[in-house]
C-alpha cells in the first residue's frame, strides 16, 4: 500500500489528505496531520473523497453523437472532430461565436491551459466558469472596496477573533473546517453572531441569531454600520489613515435606524443594536459570508455593505480580523486566479489593458482578442439567440447547476463536454471526452484562503481517460499553436513568469502546507494576511449602498432559497455515487415551516407542487422550523427535483450573478 498526499476535491477549504493506493486502485483516504488547516481532520465528504474514483459509471472512452445516440470513439476521432468543428465555426461565424467554460474542479494548470486555448487559439475572450454563479460579486465588490476579491485572512485567523459575524453561510455543513475554526474561537470566548433566515447548524451555536427577510442584507448591514457610527464605536484612526469616502457612507446609512431595519428585515431593533455593539466593540472582528450574500440581484451591493462594516470598524489587515468569502469549490479561487474570466487575464490583469495584452501576446506567440468576452450566463443567452454556436465545457454541469435550465437546452451547433461521469450536460453533447479525476493527475489547487497546494497523481487515469490539461494541450496543437508542454510543472513555471501574484510559486516550494499568494518572487515568504500595511489600491473605498424594495408576490407568496446539504456536492456527480453519502441524503425534500404546512394542510413526507412563474416540479415536503414562515429551502443536488428549474434568471447588473436565493414560488398539495 502506498499513501499519496494530495488535496481534497470538494469545498474551498482545501484540506490535505492521503489517498491509500493498492495495486493501482485507490482503496481509502485519511487526513493529513501536518496540513495547517486539516490538522488531522476532514469533513464527511473528505473522509469519503476516494469513493467515486473507481465507480463503474466513469466515462472510459470518448463518445461521438450519431443522431440520438452517443457512440464509442477513439481519442483521435473525437479530438479531430472537436478541432475541426471549432475551426469551422470560428471561420464561418467569427471567433466570438465560440465559448469555453472551464472547471473549478480542474487544476490551476488546466484552467490556465483552457483559458489559453480560448484566447490564443480560438481568439475569443468568451471564457468563464462557475465562479459567475458563486463569488462573482465578491470579486467585483471586494476588488472595488479593497483592491482584491479574495479572502483576506486564512481560516486559522478566525480562531483569534473576538467576534465572528457569519451571514449567508451554512458553515458547519458547507465549510466544516472553517466552522471548526469558528467553534475553536467560541470555546476561547469569542462571540458568534449569525445572520441567516435559516436556523442552520452554525446558527444554533450562535450567541445571537438574527433572522432577516431573504434579500434584506443591505438594510441590516447598513443598520449595523449606523449604530456603530452613532455609538462612536468606529475606528477613527483606521478610517482617516487608510480609507476614503467615509462621509458618503455616513450619509448613506443615516436613514437606516434599527427601527426602519426592523420594518424591512424583520430583525428586532434591539437585536440589531446588540449585534452592532458587539461587533463594533470587538478588538478583532471577522466577517464570514458565502452564497446567501452573493446570489442576489444586488449581490455586489451586499458584499460592498459588508466591506463597509469591516472598514468602519478597522477590522482588516490583522490576525483575527478580515473578510472571509467562503468559496464552494476546491479550486474556484484558482480558476479565477488563472483568468478563466471574460475580462481578466491570469492574476486579475485586465484584458482591456494594452500593455498586459502585449505581454501575453509575446509570451504565447499569438495575437489576442481585444474585446472582453461574455460571462457564463451571457454565453447561454447568446447560445439561445444564435450568437454563440459552439461551446467547449470542461467539468461543469450547467444543465443542473445553472438557473432556469430549460433555456440551456436550446440548440447549439456544437457542444463538446469533458467529464468524469455522464451528466445531464454530457447527454446533450456532440462529443464527450472522458477525463481524469483529481486522483489521476498532477497539478495545483488554490483554496479559498489563497493557499496554492499540490495535487498529486495517485493512480493512472481510469479507463481511457486523460487529464483535462492533456486534452487542452492536444487541442491547442491541433488548432495550430504548438504549446510544447510535457508536464504540469512547466505550465506552473509559465504561470509564475506571467502572473505577478504567482511569481514565486513553483512545485519545489509547495510542501505539505502550500503557499499563499500574493507571492511575487521565489524569495518572498508569501502573504498570509492581505492589506496589512496598505491596500493595493492605496486607500480602501467606502461604497454607499441602498436597500432595494422587496415585495412579496401575492400569487407566489413563498420565497425559495436554494443551497447545498452536508452530504452532497453540487449536482451530485461525485457524491451521489458515494454510497454512504447517498444513503444519508437519498432524495430531495423541500423544507417548509410548520405554520405554513398547517395552512396548506400537508404533513412530513407528503408530496407538494412547487411553482415559479414559468416552471413547476413535485417534491417531498419536510416540515421543519429551521426555515422561517413563508420561506422554503431546497437543495439543488437532485435531478429528481431540480431546484434550478425554478430559480430566477435575474442578474446582478455589476457581477452578472443570477438571483438564485430569492425566487417567488407557490406551493400546493399534490
Amino acid at each position: 500500500m502506498e499513501k499519496i498526499l494530495t488535496t481534497c476535491p470538494y469545498c474551498g477549504c482545501g484540506c490535505g489528505m492521503f489517498l491509500h493506493v493498492e495495486d493501482g486502485q485507490v482503496v481509502g483516504s485519511s487526513p493529513s496531520t501536518s496540513h495547517p488547516l486539516s490538522r488531522g481532520r476532514l469533513c464527511v465528504k473528505g473522509w469519503l473523497a476516494h469513493d467515486f474514483i473507481h465507480h463503474p459509471d466513469r466515462l472510459r472512452s470518448p463518445l461521438i453523437r450519431d443522431d440520438d445516440r452517443q457512440i464509442k470513439a477513439t481519442w483521435e476521432d473525437a479530438l479531430s472532430l472537436v478541432s475541426r468543428r471549432m475551426k469551422e465555426i470560428m471561420e464561418t461565424f467569427g471567433p466570438d461565436s465560440l465559448a469555453v467554460l472551464t472547471s473549478a474542479k480542474g487544476t490551476n494548470e488546466e484552467n490556465y491551459l483552457l483559458m489559453k486555448l480560448a484566447r490564443a487559439v480560438l481568439k475569443t475572450n468568451n471564457v468563464d466558469h462557475v465562479a459567475r454563479l458563486c463569488h462573482a460579486p465578491s470579486v467585483t465588490g471586494l476588488s472595488a472596496a479593497l483592491g482584491s476579491g479574495a479572502m483576506t485572512n486564512p481560516h486559522r485567523s478566525l480562531i483569534s477573533a473576538d467576534v465572528v459575524l457569519v451571514t449567508g453561510s451554512n458553515t458547519t455543513e458547507q465549510h466544516p473546517l472553517a466552522a471548526s475554526c469558528i467553534m475553536e474561537a467560541k470555546s476561547r470566548g469569542a462571540k458568534l453572531i449569525v445572520v441567516d433566515p435559516r436556523t442552520t447548524g452554525i446558527a444554533r451555536l450562535a450567541d445571537l441569531h438574527l433572522v432577516p427577510e431573504v434579500g434584506s442584507d443591505v438594510a441590516w448591514t447598513n443598520g449595523m454600520v449606523k449604530v456603530i457610527i452613532d455609538e462612536g464605536l468606529f475606528d477613527q484612526e483606521f478610517i482617516e489613515k487608510r480609507t476614503e469616502g467615509f462621509g458618503l457612507l455616513e450619509e448613506a446609512v443615516s436613514g437606516y435606524t434599527p427601527e426602519l431595519v426592523e420594518k424591512i428585515s424583520g430583525i428586532p431593533a434591539v437585536d440589531l443594536r446588540r449585534a452592532a455593539v458587539a461587533f463594533g466593540s470587538a478588538e478583532r472582528g471577522s466577517i464570514v459570508y458565502a452564497m446567501g450574500t452573493t446570489q442576489h440581484a444586488n449581490g455586489t451591493e451586499n458584499v460592498l455593505a459588508l466591506a463597509n462594516l469591516a472598514l468602519v470598524t478597522g477590522n482588516l489587515g490583522r490576525e483575527g480580523t478580515g473578510i472571509y468569502p467562503l468559496r464552494g469549490h476546491q479550486n474556484v479561487q484558482g480558476a479565477c486566479d488563472m483568468g478563466a474570466l471574460p475580462d481578466l487575464y491570469p492574476g486579475y490583469q485586465p484584458v482591456s489593458d494594452a500593455g498586459v495584452r502585449e505581454k501575453f501576446e509575446k509570451a504565447w506567440g499569438a495575437s489576442l482578442p481585444h474585446r472582453p468576452g461574455l460571462t457564463a450566463m451571457e454565453i447561454m443567452e447568446a447560445a439561445e439567440e444564435g450568437r454563440v454556436r459552439g461551446i467547449y465545457i470542461s467539468g461543469e454541469n450547467p444543465m443542473l447547476s445553472y438557473p432556469d435550465q430549460d433555456r440551456v437546452r436550446k440548440s447549439l451547433e456544437f457542444l463538446a463536454v469533458a467529464e468524469i461521469f455522464p451528466t445531464e450536460t454530457t447527454a446533450l453533447a456532440d462529443v464527450v471526452l472522458p477525463v481524469a479525476s483529481f486522483a489521476e493527475k498532477d497539478g495545483t489547487f488554490t483554496s479559498t484562503e489563497r493557499r496554492v497546494q499540490r495535487v498529486r497523481k495517485a493512480i493512472d487515469p481510469v479507463g481511457g481517460s486523460r487529464s483535462e490539461g492533456e486534452v487542452a494541450v492536444e487541442l491547442m496543437n491541433r488548432l495550430g499553436l504548438e504549446s510544447g508542454y510535457s508536464r504540469p510543472e512547466e505550465v506552473m513555471e509559465e504561470i509564475a513568469r506571467l502572473v505577478p501574484i504567482y511569481g514565486g510559486i513553483g512545485y519545489p516550494r509547495l510542501g505539505a502546507g502550500g503557499i499563499f499568494w500574493p507571492c511575487p518572487d521565489s524569495g518572498h515568504p508569501a502573504t498570509e494576511i492581505l492589506h496589512q500595511d496598505s491596500f493595493s489600491i492605496g486607500r480602501a473605498r467606502f461604497h454607499p449602498t441602498a436597500h432595494q424594495d422587496l415585495k412579496r408576490d401575492e400569487e407566489y407568496p413563498f420565497v425559495l432559497i436554494t443551497g447545498r446539504c452536508l452530504f452532497h456536492f453540487h449536482t451530485g456527480t461525485m457524491t451521489r455515487r458515494t454510497p454512504l453519502l447517498e444513503r444519508e441524503k437519498p432524495r430531495p425534500k423541500i423544507e417548509i415551516n410548520p405554520r405554513d404546512a398547517e395552512k396548506i394542510c400537508i404533513g412530513c413526507g407528503r408530496m407538494v407542487v412547487v411553482e415559479s412563474k414559468d416552471h413547476r416540479l413535485t417534491v417531498e415536503a419536510e416540515i421543519i422550523p429551521d426555515v422561517p414562515p413563508k420561506t422554503v429551502f431546497m437543495p439543488f443536488h437532485f435531478r429528481e427535483a431540480p431546484a434550478n428549474l425554478l430559480t430566477s434568471q435575474r442578474l446582478d447588473p455589476r457581477s452578472k450573478i443570477p438571483a438564485l436565493k430569492r425566487t417567488p414560488v407557490r406551493i400546493t398539495r399534490v
Partner: protein, 331 residues
C-alpha cells in the same frame, strides 16, 4: 520465552530481507508525517506519534469488493483474493489490543480471518506516547504483554525482541545470525522505559478511568454535545476498534458488491422505513457510540471497545472532548 537483542543497525538488514519474502508494512515519514505503507527501504518513523490511520486497515480495509456482477447475463464473479503474506512492523500496543477485540467479533468472517492468518504482527512498545494517549488508564499500554507475534522494545544497545507466538519464533529462526541472546539488564531497561512511559501517559489524564467514563456517559449533556458534532464520522473512521460496515452495490446494471466502512454517528445508519429512527438526534447517536465502546462491546466480547489511542480526539472537528468524555461533564 527467550528474548533476543537486535543491534540498531541490524534492524534494517532484518526488515530488508523480510521485505523480499513478504509485504512489509511499516511506518515511514511521508511529507513530514508518519503513515503505514508498504516498506521499501525508506527511513522508518519509529519515534514519532502513532500514525493517524491505524494499521488495522490491513485486516479491515476501508472498502473491499465481495463480488462483481453482470446483471443481463446473470453472471456473478466471485473473485477470492489470495491473502498476501504480510508483516506489520511497528504496530503499537493500543492497535494490537484493537485487533484482539476485532478477533472476537470477526472470528468467523473468512475475509478477516484469512488476512489475519497470513499476517505477522511485530509490535513496537510505546516509549514515546502522544499527547492524546490514555492507554495506561485503560490498562492496555504503553507496553504489550500478549497477542503479538514479535515484540520490539527500543533499548540502549538496539532492540529487545521477544517472540510471542510460533509464527514469531519461526521468523526469528531464519535470522539467527542477526540476533544475540538478550541480557537481564536489557529486560530491566525495558521495564524502566515502559514505567516512565506509563507515568507520562497517566500524567496527561490522571483522572481518566473506566468507571468515571461510564459515569460521564450517563451524565453528559448529549443534546448540547450533539449540536457541536459536525457529523464528519472521523471518530469512527480512525477508531481501530470501530468496525461497522455497510454492504452496497456500486453500479447498475453491472457493477460490484462492496463492503465498506460505516459509522453509527450517521443518521442513516439506523434509519428504518418511513424515516423512523431509533436514535433521532445527533446527541443520541454520540451517546450510542460511547455506550457501544464501554458497555455493549464489553458485554459481548469481554473487552472494552476503547484502547486509549486518542485518535478520536485528534480528528474531532467540533470541540468535543473525546478523550474519555470527562471534560464534558466537568470531571
Amino acid at each position: 520465552m527467550r528474548s533476543f537483542l537486535l543491534p540498531r543497525d541490524g534492524l534494517v538488514l532484518f526488515l530488508n530481507d523480510l521485505s523480499k519474502k513478504l509485504e512489509l508494512i511499516a511506518p515511514v515519514m511521508m511529507e513530514g508525517e508518519p503513515v503505514f505503507v508498504t516498506w521499501s527501504g525508506e527511513k522508518l518513523a519509529l519515534d514519532s506519534e502513532n500514525p493517524l490511520a491505524s494499521p488495522v486497515e490491513f485486516f479491515l480495509p476501508q472498502e473491499e469488493v465481495l463480488f462483481r456482477y453482470v446483471q443481463y447475463s446473470g453472471r456473478y464473479t466471485f473473485e477470492e483474493e489470495e491473502p498476501r503474506p504480510r508483516m506489520i512492523f511497528g504496530m503499537r500496543p493500543c492497535d494490537l489490543k484493537a485487533v484482539e477485540v476485532l478477533d472476537r467479533i470477526f472470528g468467523s468472517d473468512h475475509l478477516y480471518v484469512d488476512r489475519r492468518r497470513s499476517t505477522v504482527i511485530a509490535v513496537l512498545n510505546c516509549i514515546t506516547p502522544g499527547e492524546g494517549c490514555f492507554c495506561a488508564q485503560l490498562g492496555i499500554g504503553p507496553g504489550s504483554e500478549e497477542g503479538y507475534d514479535l515484540l520490539f522494545t527500543e533499548v540502549e544497545d538496539g532492540y529487545l525482541v521477544e517472540p510471542g507466538s510460533p509464527a514469531g519464533t519461526l521468523v526469528l529462526r531464519d535470522y539467527a545470525d542477526l540476533f544475540t541472546e538478550a541480557r537481564p539488564h536489557h529486560l530491566a531497561e525495558k521495564k524502566m522505559k515502559l514505567d516512565m512511559a506509563e507515568e507520562a501517559v497517566r500524567r496527561l489524564g490522571p483522572q481518566i478511568s473506566i468507571p468515571l467514563i461510564e459515569e460521564a456517559i450517563e451524565e453528559a449533556p448529549w443534546e448540547e454535545i450533539g449540536e457541536r458534532c459536525l457529523r464528519c464520522g472521523g471518530c469512527s473512521f480512525v477508531c481501530p476498534v470501530c468496525h461497522c460496515f455497510n454492504v452496497v452495490d456500486r453500479g447498475v446494471p453491472d457493477g460490484e458488491r462492496l463492503r465498506c466502512r460505516d459509522s453509527c454517528i450517521f443518521s442513516g445508519f439506523a434509519r428504518m422505513a418511513n424515516d423512523i429512527n431509533p436514535r433521532m438526534s445527533q446527541g443520541e447517536r454520540l451517546r450510542n457510540w460511547y455506550k457501544n465502546k464501554f458497555v455493549y462491546l464489553p458485554e459481548r466480547t469481554g473487552l472494552v471497545g476503547c484502547v486509549g489511542c486518542g485518535r478520536c480526539s485528534r480528528v474531532c472537528l467540533g470541540p468535543i472532548d473525546r478523550k474519555g468524555l470527562l471534560k464534558e461533564v466537568g470531571i
